[in-house]
């Protein structure tokens, strides 16, 4: 037990102490825990630790290999950056939620069996949902609820898949899944794809991230989708459908980002887009592609967090979140602008920045693996990425028409958090070997070849040309774009209308028919069955008659109805009843003897 320390213990265990500390002591403690976690992960050696037996099943908390290590490195580094950025926040619960969130993500990464994985997976969903709720606005509570419900759905899917997988194989151990297309295979895959935000299961992300707190969104942008990439690399490498899903999601995010007006929703659509590269890499499944996915996840966590921090700083200092309401901020927030741009250039894949050395690995893997169309489409996406993140967003926030908003630079801790992330984005881009050295497979890839550098620059700079030529067309508009969350936001109204109108009306009719119409008819009938029958028969008879006879019968029926039940005895004296009964008996006797 002592040879290895689970970093989740530091975060989840450490979270419990946070409420007992106040002010500076609390801030110092938060940083200390995050720094300790970095130290712990970077001094880890490979092996399997903290195993136990639960109901006859092997439980593994610590499966440490190259794949889990590289994710734990970036997760702990990111936790430190995120906490630095959030230091000015005086919301103990939010800090605790962030700690639980980071801790459970690390729990998923080191989990060696599905039960452990599932438990941490669910803690992640709840802890991160709190980061949305913590905004305490009506829209945030609603978006957070939708977020939570969608993740619970994903959790149910995952759990069902895990149990079926256990029935099939008799094991809960996590490992590459047999590509047999069983129900368990697809249920687990869907559970993971929900967290990876693969369309059409992605709407929870772009719905909730823009409503999370400024600091919470930074954490969210880093952990949920990337733990999903981790488990996909671990369990579903080479699942070919993922290549095309990845390409579709990469393009999907780009298209929506062009239309988007909300700053952080625009960035969220580019999470979907960038995770598309990673999903496609997992689908290709070659060593180079998987390396590409992992390194892109590593780089993405840092530059995307940087972008969210930059956008968050603008929102924090101006109180506005829409491109149409912002503009001309370069005079007031030059540092924020420069730091944001480091992220924007890194995500676009400019040489000497982190995106260049990781994204190109996925694209090259597609080229080498025999998917040239995939490579072409992913290259097109990188143009779209630069267009929205590197040009459109900064242009309309920091330049463009002056919105008249004034602001000050954000607090020092926010700038330091952004500075750390920016430093790493450049460091990875300048010397990628440090990152390549910790990837799961040996790397045989050199990003800095002359044609590759000039090719990337040409793509990006001519994208910039296109942007400035079509600048007027790109002016942001105060709209929102319908996405697949329409189905549960509007769809639920259709459902309620259906329940309210046709279903209820139908139900009411059934009620009236069985509990009102039939009984009252029976009561009416039993008051004078013979007269009632007579009326009924006359009704039928009338239908075969022509005018004017028909009119006469109609008139008679009216009269009979008016006096109904009338005098029951008079038209049917006892004598005739006796006669009828006698006839019935005779008939019966005849039948009996025949």
């Amino acid at each position: 037990m002592t040879e290895w320390l689970h970093p989740s213990i530091l975060f989840i265990g450490g979270a419990i102490l946070i409420p007992f500390l106040r002010g500076k002591a609390q801030k110092g403690y938060l940083l200390l825990v995050a720094a300790a976690a970095i130290l712990v992960t970077f001094s880890m050696s490979h092996g399997t630790f903290w195993t136990s037996n639960f109901l006859g099943q092997e439980i593994i908390f610590g499966r440490v290999d190259r794949l889990s290590l590289v994710f734990s490195y970036v997760f702990t580094i990111m936790a430190f950056i995120g906490i630095t950025y959030a230091l000015h926040v005086d919301d103990t619960l939010q800090h605790m939620a962030a700690f639980f969130y980071v801790g459970s993500s690390l729990g998923v990464v080191f989990a060696g069996d599905y039960l452990t994985l599932f438990i941490f997976w669910e803690i992640m969903a709840f802890a991160s949902a709190y980061l949305v709720f913590a905004s305490r606005k009506r829209e945030a509570i609603e978006a957070g609820s939708r977020y939570l419900m969608f993740h619970i759905l994903g959790g149910v899917c995952l759990m069902a898949g895990i149990l079926l997988h256990y029935v099939d194989t008799g094991s809960f151990l996590v490992g590459p899944m047999e590509q047999n297309g069983s129900l368990a295979f697809y249920l687990i895959l869907i559970g993971f794809l929900i967290n990876a935000a693969v369309p059409p299961l992605h709407a929870w992300l772009v719905d909730s991230y823009p409503d999370a707190t400024v600091t919470g969104a930074v954490f969210m942008s880093a952990f949920t989708t990337k733990t999903a990439i981790y488990v996909l690399v671990r369990i579903f490498p080479g699942t070919e459908i993922l290549i095309w899903l990845g390409v579709i999601m990469a393009l999907y995010g780009v298209v929506y980002a062009v239309l988007e007006n909300d700053v952080r929703r625009l960035l969220s659509y580019h999470i979907v887009s960038q995770v598309g590269y990673m999903v496609a890499g997992v689908g290709m499944g070659t060593e180079m592609a998987l390396n590409g996915s992992v390194s892109h996840a590593f780089a993405h966590i840092l530059y995307k967090a940087l972008l969210f921090m930059g956008a968050g700083a603008v929102i924090h200092m101006t109180g506005r979140r829409k491109l149409t309401e912002l503009g001309g901020l370069y005079k007031y927030l030059p540092l924020t602008f420069v730091l944001y741009m480091v992220g924007g250039v890194a995500i676009s894949g400019f040489p000497l920045f982190s995106g260049f050395v990781s994204k190109s690995m996925v694209v090259s893997a597609a080229n080498h693996g025999g998917w040239p169309i995939v490579a072409l489409l992913l290259t097109m996406v990188s143009a779209g990425t630069f267009l929205s993140i590197g040009l459109k967003l900064p242009y309309y926030v920091f330049f463009g028409k002056d919105s008249g908003v004034t602001a000050k630079e954000p607090p020092l801790n926010m700038l330091i958090g952004m500075g750390l992330a920016a430093f790493l984005c450049i460091a990875i881009g300048v010397s990628p070997d440090a990152l390549y050295g910790v990837l799961p497979y040996p790397v045989h890839f050199e990003p800095y070849t002359a044609d590759h550098v000039t090719g990337a620059l040409a793509i990006l700079m001519f994208t910039a040309l296109g942007f400035f030529l079509l600048l007027k067309r790109l002016d942001p508009e105060p709209t929102i774009s319908v996405d697949t969350d329409w189905f549960y936001r509007k769809g639920v109204r259709v459902f309620f209308w259906f329940v309210d109108k046709p279903m209820t009306t139908f139900g009411n009719h059934i009620g009236t028919f069985f509990f009102h119409s039939i009984p009252s008819y029976l009561i009416w009938f039993s008051k004078n069955p013979l007269a009632a029958l007579k009326i009924g028969m006359e009704n039928v008879f009338m239908r075969f008659c022509r005018q004017p006879r028909r009119k006469q019968i109609e008139y008679r029926i009216e009269r009979e109805k008016a006096i109904y039940p009338g005098d029951i005895i008079k038209p049917w004296p006892i004598g005739s009843t006796v006669l009828w009964i006698t006839l019935v008996f005779i008939g019966h006797l005849l039948l009996y003897y025949l």
Binding site: V258, L335, H368, A458, I480
Partner: protein
Amino acid sequence: MIRKAVNYLGDPKNIRRHRITLWIILALVFIADLLVPRAHVEHLWDKIPGWSAFYGLVSCVLIIVVSKFLGYAWLMKKEDYYD
């Protein structure tokens, strides 16, 4: 220093200069991409001179046109759509 640089970038008086700078950069990148040796190209399109520049520009225009078309035709709604 950063403040000065950013102010220079954002000052509306300098737009003409920025435009010239952009054209110069584009020309340099385009020429560099033409001159670079391509010994190990794998696909047909990589052999077309100026392919990257062309593809970058076309991608950008295509993405803007297609997105805006989809947006106006179908996706974009008023902000109170869900209220």
